[in-house]
């Protein structure tokens, strides 16, 4: 970086929206995100992850939400339908398929609405063509991905493989560990994604069932506060019509041309989307208190994880500590942008790096291996898939085996 992004003042540039301080039809006051999180009194509530999504959307000044009944396996889409009936959203309807939903979301976003939807598993993959389209068209739509299995035979169990498919779509991809993360990431995600220098879609991911269906204590700001609305005049692209790009570009012969000018434009366009992801760091670091959380990262053994694998790792570290094995922990909050410099820094002195994951391929371990020196230090696992849980004892066992320590064989 040519300038250090400070963490000391946990604020991003305050909203200057003309509706700041005004009331909406639900008698909520449009409030700057900094004030919602750092000034307002937070009240603990005991909620499922799906209910947390509903509570976040109540405070997010969302214009449109589109739902498809099969996905996600969470109740979030139905719960958002209920708050639409109460008056919290302007538009809410059912799409004909996940593909249709994402196209309808694009239409609403082109029209200037803040847009939220949810999906999971096969639905995410069915809708996949739309995600790079959203990014290329600079649409700051938020999709909450409540991760589940994507393969046949069909599974509705948690599995993070679908996140791997999202990594190069040009979207921001954040991974919530807890219901509290999920609430915070949804609201903060809108703010980061809608910055004029970012202005790309965001996938706020969480592990299905573990987060969506279990209850947890979540600190909520007052319901009479809501984010300032989306401001379409801060869009880095002109409002859509058939005479302006990206649509005009698509219907012109330009898109089909085989010449340097055409290539250079398309290449620069792709670079610009990746640049937007990079620019989001500046806004994300103060709002999320860094792209990673770190605990005892001066230790020789580290666990680096995201999502609920972090929670399991915390308990595994406690168990290992009882056996005299000291392990540090790195929690990755944003997968895109990937916290490259942060990971390089915290793993600098580690001799063994374990990456527990809820997917069959171990994509997070690959990501880490690709950026750090001496990457044979990275142990890809333990990872489970197909909806299996990842007991902390398994993490303990794998670490002990890898380190050549004696361990009691686990019986399943």
């Amino acid at each position: 970086m040519n300038k250090t992004v400070e963490l000391t003042n946990k604020r991003i540039i305050a909203s200057s929206h003309e509706k700041l301080g005004q009331k909406n039809r639900m008698d909520q006051t449009y409030t700057d995100v900094n004030d919602i999180f750092y000034k307002a009194e937070q009240t603990p509530s005991f909620l499922t992850g799906s209910e947390v999504i509903r509570e976040a959307i109540k405070r997010a000044s969302v214009g449109t939400s589109v739902a498809y009944p099969i996905t996600p396996q969470s109740e979030a889409a139905a719960l958002i339908g209920e708050i639409y009936a109460e008056g919290y959203l302007d538009e809410y309807f059912r799409g004909e398929s996940e593909f249709a939903v994402m196209g309808q979301c694009a239409g609403a976003a082109f029209g200037g609405h803040r847009v939220f939807t949810t999906t999971a598993g096969p639905g995410t993959l069915r809708a996949m063509e739309n995600f790079p389209m959203w990014a290329g068209a600079r649409l700051p739509i938020q999709v909450c991905v409540t991760c589940r299995g994507i393969n046949s035979p069909l599974s509705i169990q948690p599995d993070t493989l679908e996140m791997y498919y999202l990594l190069e779509t040009g979207m921001l991809v954040w991974h919530a560990e807890t219901a509290q993360d999920l609430f915070d990431f949804i609201l903060k995600g809108f703010i980061v994604a809608e910055q004029p220098d970012v202005h790309i879609p965001i996938a706020v991911c969480c592990d299905g069932f573990f987060v969506t269906h279990t209850k947890d204590t979540v600190e909520l700001p007052p319901l009479d506060l809501t984010l300032t609305p989306y401001d379409p005049y801060r869009n880095p692209q002109p409002v859509m019509d058939m005479e302006t790009s990206p649509f005009r570009m698509m219907r012109d012969p330009f898109v089909m041309k085989s010449n340097y000018i055409s290539y250079a434009t398309h290449a620069s366009w792709q670079q610009e989307i990746r640049s937007a992801v990079e620019r989001s760091r500046k806004h994300t670091i103060p709002l999320l208190d860094g792209l990673i959380d770190e605990m005892n990262t001066d230790r020789e053994i580290l666990i680096v994880a995201s999502g609920t694998a972090v929670s399991q790792s915390r308990e595994a570290i406690r168990l290992l500590e009882e056996d005299g094995v000291k392990v540090g922990l790195v929690k990755i909050k944003t997968i895109r942008p990937f916290p490259t410099e942060e990971i390089k820094r915290v793993t600098k002195n580690a001799k063994h790096i374990f990456v527990p994951e809820f997917n069959v391929v171990g994509w997070l371990a690959r990501e880490i291996k690709s950026i750090i020196p001496d990457n044979e230090r990275v142990y890809e696992g333990p990872h489970v898939c197909g909806g299996m849980t990842l007991p902390c004892e398994v993490i303990v066992e794998q670490i002990k085996i890898h380190l050549g320590m004696e361990t009691e064989k686990l019986r399943m």
Partner: protein
């Protein structure tokens, strides 16, 4: 700290975006010169010197200052014309973003998909982007850096452009006036404009209405 300098090209067949090289945009009250975040004051001085030292300094006004969508835009356009007259600078509009077919009239227009053609045709050595939507400005700035030796200045109303050689952020009417004042100050100190003589063409809603002799 990033060592990536955003300098006039031609840089590469496909130069990297400055953001991908770790360059960060300035915060309010700051500006950006060749990859380094600086104070706004420093940027006014540098921009004024670059503009006065150029043979073909040119402003590329985009749709956000060309079309009077509100009274503020008209004020901004007036300020821009005053800035152009002060140097003097050419004005070549980027009226919209459609690719131009069968060919661009490079003397009278610039397009974000092939801005290098206009730069080359007019031998523009310093340019100012203003009123261009950020996405389109970023495309243009990188293509210009890739294929031309033009020094790019962005007067961005939003967060700035790290692909410009020099970028302001939150640029409003007052900031345009301030840049003009910086130019006037340098001129009063004896710095002369190196601009080659030219006649500004005039355009109406139907296209060119007055061509230079």
């Amino acid at each position: 700290m990033s060592q990536y300098k955003v300098l006039p090209g031609p840089e590469a067949f496909l130069p990297p975006s400055a953001a991908s090289m770790g360059n960060v945009l300035p915060d309010p009250g700051e500006a950006y010169i060749e990859g380094v975040v600086v104070s706004e004051e420093e940027a006014y001085e540098r921009a004024a010197r670059k503009i006065l030292g150029a043979k073909v300094p040119t402003i590329f006004p985009g749709p956000l200052v060309l079309w009077k969508i509100n009274p503020h835009v008209a004020e901004k356009a007036t300020a821009l014309r005053e800035l152009a007259n002060e140097v003097p600078m050419r004005l070549i509009p980027m009226a919209d973003y459609r690719p131009k077919y069968p060919k661009i009239e490079a003397q009278y227009e610039i397009n974000p998909n092939h801005p290098n053609l206009t730069i080359w045709h007019n031998k523009i050595d310093v340019c100012i982007f203003i009123g261009v939507h950020c996405h389109m400005a970023n495309l243009s700035l990188k293509i210009i850096r890739g294929g031309t030796s033009c020094y790019t200045i962005a007067m961005c109303a939003m967060a700035g452009h790290e692909d410009a050689c020099l970028s302001f952020r939150d640029a409003d009417v007052a900031m345009i006036h301030k840049l003009r004042e910086s130019i006037k100050k340098l001129k009063s100190e004896g710095v002369e404009s190196q601009c080659t003589p030219f006649q500004q063409f005039k355009m109406g809603r139907t296209g060119i209405i007055e061509q230079p002799a």
